[in-house]
């Protein structure tokens, strides 16, 4: 089981993302996008492609846009190919924004992106812990998880989805995660439970196969129990909720 963790141009969560995969049993490598463009064939050596969080190109021209355009020009076919195989792709935060800009998620009509990531309703950067529920049990990434306590840290985390497409997304069961409140009910857009004003409290989307997951919260930052706020008062043992996502990737190939 090998994971390729992408880096370069301001992506910045590659170390902790790789670490999370390694702890659950993957072998992995951080590969700079320029090296991948030079030699795209190396993708064949990997079963998981992870785009970590960060600030690629400083979010200029829209979060994830510039990196998505670079991939589109140089690596798009290979990545589509990867997504059509029995392999997994995950984009976390900036990675999520990149996947959305590439149209790899929800990928209902191919090629052109159908969803946009826009600025948080609050207008400011939000680094805070939220709770999400899993809304889609067909994605291998999300199997057997009900809720998770995870941090978000983004300026542009609001999923903007045209009305018709949203119907289609729901019909196809492509909503991965939704923000919930303290009573474990949908946040209904209420801040700070829903930190960005995302429609239908969407925190993650998947493609139709469920093997591509684009999520705004950071599971790698909720990996160990001591990552969780006020962990001294909690009875978590070794791991936090984020661990479950990485374990699911492992189980998929086990």
């Amino acid at each position: 089981m090998n994971v390729l963790v992408l880096s370069g141009y301001g992506i910045n969560c590659e170390n902790e993302t790789l670490h999370a995969f390694e702890v659950v049993g993957f072998k992995g490598k951080i590969i700079h996008i320029n090296d991948l463009i030079q030699n795209p064939k190396q993708l064949n050596n990997y079963q998981v492609f992870a785009i970590p969080g960060g600030f690629s190109y400083g979010d200029d021209t829209g979060s994830g846009n510039a990196m998505a355009k670079k991939i589109l020009t140089n690596l798009y076919d290979q990545l589509i190919d990867f997504s059509l195989k029995d392999k997994l792709i995950i984009g976390i935060c900036n990675g999520c924004q990149i996947l959305i800009n590439l149209g790899l998620v929800p990928s209902l009509n191919k090629k052109d992106p159908e969803v946009a990531m826009i600025e948080n309703k609050s207008g400011s950067y939000e680094c805070r812990w939220i709770e999400v529920k899993v809304s889609n049990n067909k994605s291998p990434w999300l199997k057997n998880i009900s809720t998770m306590h995870l941090p978000v840290a983004h300026q542009e985390g609001q999923f903007m989805i045209p009305v018709n497409l949203l119907k289609n997304i729901k019909a196809n069961n492509l909503i991965g995660l939704q923000y919930i409140d303290h009573q474990k009910k949908l946040a209904k857009g209420q801040f700070p439970f829903n930190p960005n004003g995302s429609k239908d409290d969407i925190a993650a989307l998947t493609n139709q196969n469920g093997n591509v997951l684009a999520m705004m919260p950071h599971p790698e930052r909720a990996f160990y129990h001591y990552h969780i706020p006020n962990w001294q008062n909690s009875n978590l043992k070794k791991f936090g909720d984020g661990y479950k996502i990485f374990m699911n990737a492992k189980k998929f190939f086990a």
Partner: protein, 975 residues
Amino acid sequence: MTNTIQILSIEKTGKESSLQKEHNNKSIKIIDGYFFSRNLDDEKFTKISKLISNDVSQTILTKKNINKVLSSYSNFNWVVEIKFLPGVTDNIATTVKEIIKDNLKSSFKSFELGSTKIILIKGRKEDITKISKNEANPLIQTIKIYPFKKFLNNFKKNQFKIEKVKLPKKKYSKKEINLDISDYHLSLIGKLGIEENDRSRRGTLGLDLESLKTIRNYFSTIKRKPTDVEIETLAQTWSEHCKHKIFSAKIDDIQEGIFKKYIKGATEKIIQLRKDNFCVSLFTDNAGGIEFNKDWIICHKVETHNTPSALDPFGGAITGIVGVNRDCLGFGKGAKPIANTYAYYLADPNKKYQLYRQKNKDPMLPANFIAKGVISGVRVGGNCSGIPTPQGNVYFDDRFAGKPLVFCGTVGIIPKKIKGKLSHKKKANPGDIILMVGGRVGKDGIHGATFSSEELDPNSPVSAVQIGDPITQKKMSDVIIRELRDENLYSSITDNGAGGLSSSIGEMAKESGGFIVNLEKVPLKYNGLYPWEIWVSESQERMTLAVPPANVKKVIKKFNARSVEATIIGKFIKKEKAIVKYNKTEILNLDMEFLHEGYPKLNLKTSFPKIKKEKKKIIKKSSLIDKLHKLLSCPNIVSKEFIATQYDHEVQATSIIKPLQGEGRVFGNATAIKPLFDDEKSIALSQAAYPQYAETNPYDMAGCSIDTAYKNLIVSGANSKKIAILDNFCWCSSDEPDRLYQLKEAAKACYDYAVAYQTPFISGKDSMFNDFKGFDKTGKSVKISIPPTLLISSIGVVDKISHLTKMTPDDDDILVVLGNTRNELQDSVYSKIIGYEKSKNPVVNSKDALRTYRKFEKANKLGIINSAIGIDLGGIGIAVTKMAISSKKGLTIDLKLKNKISVDQFLFSESQSRILVSMKKNKLANFKKIFKDSDYTIIGKCTASDVVEFKDNKKIMRGKISDFAKSYKQNIKGL
């Protein structure tokens, strides 16, 4: 054909909403504009617009659709167009250029572009003017306000323009400066700068007459005239900023100066006293380093960026944070930045100070503009660099109206050994190539001037205006830390900060002997720079490396593969000479000894200052609960949650004690990160400064700062034997004997308390002239000096995560105050907000304090302490309420135990070295055993209720926790 691309968001953006809210709900729309230096044909327009926009969320304006699209939002009638002045860093434009280059390959070359923000409003001209004042800074941006109709016309007729950097065409010829002139003319060179052929002056060199005479003597001995480059270089190298002349000067009877005697002296004494020296690198490198565990070193550095932040708060602060990140990159062979810290000392954002640099013109930026800009500068710098920013604080005082203090710090980590060699040792060897990597060189921050453009008053004393580019730096940093350092491909590294190449190369060359630099090789942002400008420019995002010739090709290739420029600009030599050439002409040739040590040493005298007595304020009659609400909601105590949530403190997945603590999210005094996946050791961080105590007694003020910064780490669970501190002195009028007296006193306290606590100084920085000299709104001249401010930053190692404490007690816990509470209300928050009668200023008794700290440490390791919070601003009253807010648990406080002081003195005194702790009932016996010969007071207990209650002999006063939380979480007015 068109020369602009303009894009707007289909739905209302968060930014638009907040602007609308701030401006009486006027209809507002923001357009992202890109102005090109060339016309785009339709094909290019379509291709490029598609590359930089999003079909789903945005609309691209065209001549055909513009009327329809914009009228669908509102009947706009005014427009403001905001773009950067030529030569100011435009990060968005850089990205767009890169996108075009990457995706359109060779089909579109040689063009310039600038990013623009265009704001449309339905409202009056006053409204748009007000918006422009809140959104733009005339020092770095052009602001054009015009009617909407003109905007439409401009759009349709391609009348948007990008202003390029226009530098007069000039050919450089070596310029020799005659110093054999009168004292008067000599001092003019120092004050106004070197005279150009057209008789204009280059701008102040900051050289006094004595320094210029020293230079004259040197050149008369070597029998030639100095070149302009030599004088500029000496001015940079000898500046207060680089040489810290005041700290190294003889002062009264202290021959060696206060740095050597009190700061470095303290550290040397501590190392001598302690057998377990954990210091690795002290004072000489870009940051100070201590041992973290057997394999790793951590380093810490804190810088200030005050003047730049006063002029361009966003640019000043972002440059401050990415600049101090480079100090870590330049520590030893290159440490990876793992945490940022910040501390802002600002004027009240809700007040209008109306200060002017010149009579009736050149206004200071409003206090809220400065506050907002500073906060967002560090946000963008830290977040975009992927470095967590967990630790910080903000303090407000009117005396920062003329100069804000902006402290930015970074912690780094580096393996002890790299390929068997000690990583903190570096040495540029003779023959090593000088490689400049990262950004290019422009006019940024030369004598601090931006340039050109009529909007800028030519006489305004504008200094260093730069805007950091965190992404360029991140790319460079990744190559250094990940791909070069551990391969041992370079022999030395340092950052380009103040003084640019002249300073970085000059410093590094001390390791080899000397250097030869060919300035024409330095890559430039635009043509037309004079050699001296290239040499001293402070353009950001650059590091200088010393690379053995055999590795140079490999190193350059690695940088280029990551889209980072790396250029050979010279070599290090053995001979102790500093040599600079420009197109083969030698324009600088100085002895290294003279360059670094030739400056005339100062001889300072101090005198006891007149103490300004605080005006007696009558205590306003109000209830205790009322007073608590007033204090909780005052800007210096109120929660700084709004900053903590916009600074990513979770990136790198190391955050273990977060800035917001407990379910009730109280802004903590200390934070901790766990930097290595395979070691449970953590790093605790804190900081403290008490400018409000300075005028009463600077010695005690410094004592309080050290005590608080140290205490906060002890409270967090750090190992007392592994705590180091950093000093950042921000002083005022440091040419006046009474200010120097205060400085000497504060420095003396630094020695006394550091030695008493055995906590060494590992790094520090000073900024000595934080004064504003200008005019008020009536044209009267005013001088506003900051209160002397000493920021002590503390960094410590926590051995086990089980030692980390929390501030949330559990039901039935006993509450105990450790330490002694005295009537020390002078200069306290209480005295400012509520009033005071007669009181003393807080004084630290280091013996008592240490007794408390050692016992606390022991009790905590034994698991006796259940929760703890350091007592500081607002005293016990505020510490208790914060504990309740954080845990959402009720507390009962017994006021009968207050001893001989009044209730208010007991609850609000800011006596130092105190900790509020809670413990389970069954631990009390053990606790008493440990603390038997030490001061403590059992003050109450934790209850399952929703109130904090204070019991007196006669009555019970209650306040609901949710009400306290509301006061504590109030917005700061003006922000």
